[in-house]
Symmetry: C2
Subunit: 215 residues, 2 copies
DNA sequence: CGGGTATGAATTGTATACAATAGAGGTTGC
DNA sequence: GCAACCTCTATTGTATACAATTCATACCCG
């Protein structure tokens, strides 16, 4: 995407994700154009993208606000994401080549290094994790799946989750990734699918137990 | 969506779906604005939507063209759609109420009437079918799922499929719908999910055998 | 008081002009 | 002849002005 429209997207996105915005807060196009430093035209483009990712919501009367997800919606998001990422893993297992396999190994090594630090480098972990999953998606060679996924990897949740990960949980992610790599190497689609499903669903439960205190 | 932007969306969409456009053909924003009778600004909004539905493709250099799906991509689209619609059916089974159930029955009655005509009224069939599936999606009560589905129900394929349906196949659709309604009435999520999966996958195969002549 | 309604302000939608960028085709130098 | 480059044109990107909606508030009438 071109310069202004892309920077608008980035800035608004980080405005929302970095917690400067409260869920439900109204966002006028003009405010957003001040935040991002470009005119309303590219802002509208950016908003359209964010709307698809459901980071911003458009009310019945076209007014914009910061999305506010119920617990049920977060649950549903993880369920859908597990379905689609598992499907992606299965496809990737059938299509992956040696180069991509090695690239996955390299990325997971970086991820492990990020964990080993004390304290663990959560930002580097998230970055490596994102690239790992992105590469799998690319190997799945499904344009349509690639189009669908962004709407399911909203990072306010992912980030909150990872920050609350224990070192053990972070380590388990790396182990999952290793097993995924093994499944890919064996070209075993069912295996890859199962591992990916567990991987995502575990992340969800780590999130839900830490995020919703027992009453 | 507002008037101009919405009409642009409709016109461009039907321009593509009604076969006036050839796959791969270039679409300039200016041409599209002539077609739809509005200026480029709302056209760009409309194009964004169509891009998400993957009816139009944006090349590396931002140029637009009519999407051209490979056989593999159509296959993948049906697979994803089967997954998500089955999931929607399962959710709907747990949440549906009497009113919605009756509404589904009413819609399926219309669908049956469309089939009984000779020749069958394919347009009315498609319309009723669409409303049937839309209502299920609504009953699933998942905003995220609702956002995802439009990218999977592209109608060039659906329409081609239905036009090639035999009367027997059209009838089978109505039977599937009846069974779905039964599953909903019993609030049996697994049953609903299975029926929906078969329903979509059968449609896919009716499509693929009639669309790709044996070599 | 209460409810509906008019009025003004805030917000989104649209058109148009202009800027930036990518493509095509020709030209020049080797 | 061919390849690199340059220029001109087609196309997309951005800004801004203005139109159309929608919201909130105050007012009027009952």
């Amino acid at each position: 995407m071109s310069r202004a429209s892309e920077t608008a997207y980035q800035k608004i996105r980080s405005f929302i994700l970095q917690g400067e915005a409260v869920p439900g807060m109204q966002l006028t196009e003009e405010k957003l154009s001040e935040i991002s430093g470009v005119s309303r035209t590219p802002v509208r483009d950016a908003v359209r993208r964010l709307e698809n990712e459901m980071l911003v919501i458009r009310s019945a009367s076209k007014r914009l606000s910061v999305a506010d997800w119920s617990e049920g919606e977060v649950d549903e998001m993880f369920t859908l994401r597990a379905m689609l990422e598992a499907h992606a893993a299965a496809r990737a297992a059938r299509r992956i080549d040696g180069d991509a396999l090695n690239a996955l190994r390299g990325i997971n090594d970086e991820l492990k290094r990020a964990i080993k630090k004390s304290p663990p480098d959560v930002t580097a972990f998230l970055e490596a994790n994102r690239r790992f999953h992105d590469l799998i998606l690319e190997c799945a060679q499904s344009p349509r799946l690639s189009k669908l996924m962004p709407a399911l990897v909203e990072q306010p949740v992912v980030r909150r989750t990872a920050q609350q990960y224990s070192k053990t949980q972070l380590h388990q992610s790396a182990v999952d990734h290793d097993e995924l790599i093994a499944a890919f190497a064996a070209k075993d689609a069912d295996w890859a699918k199962s591992v990916m499903t567990s991987h995502i669903r575990r992340a969800f439960h780590s999130f839900s137990v830490t995020a919703t205190p027992k009453s």
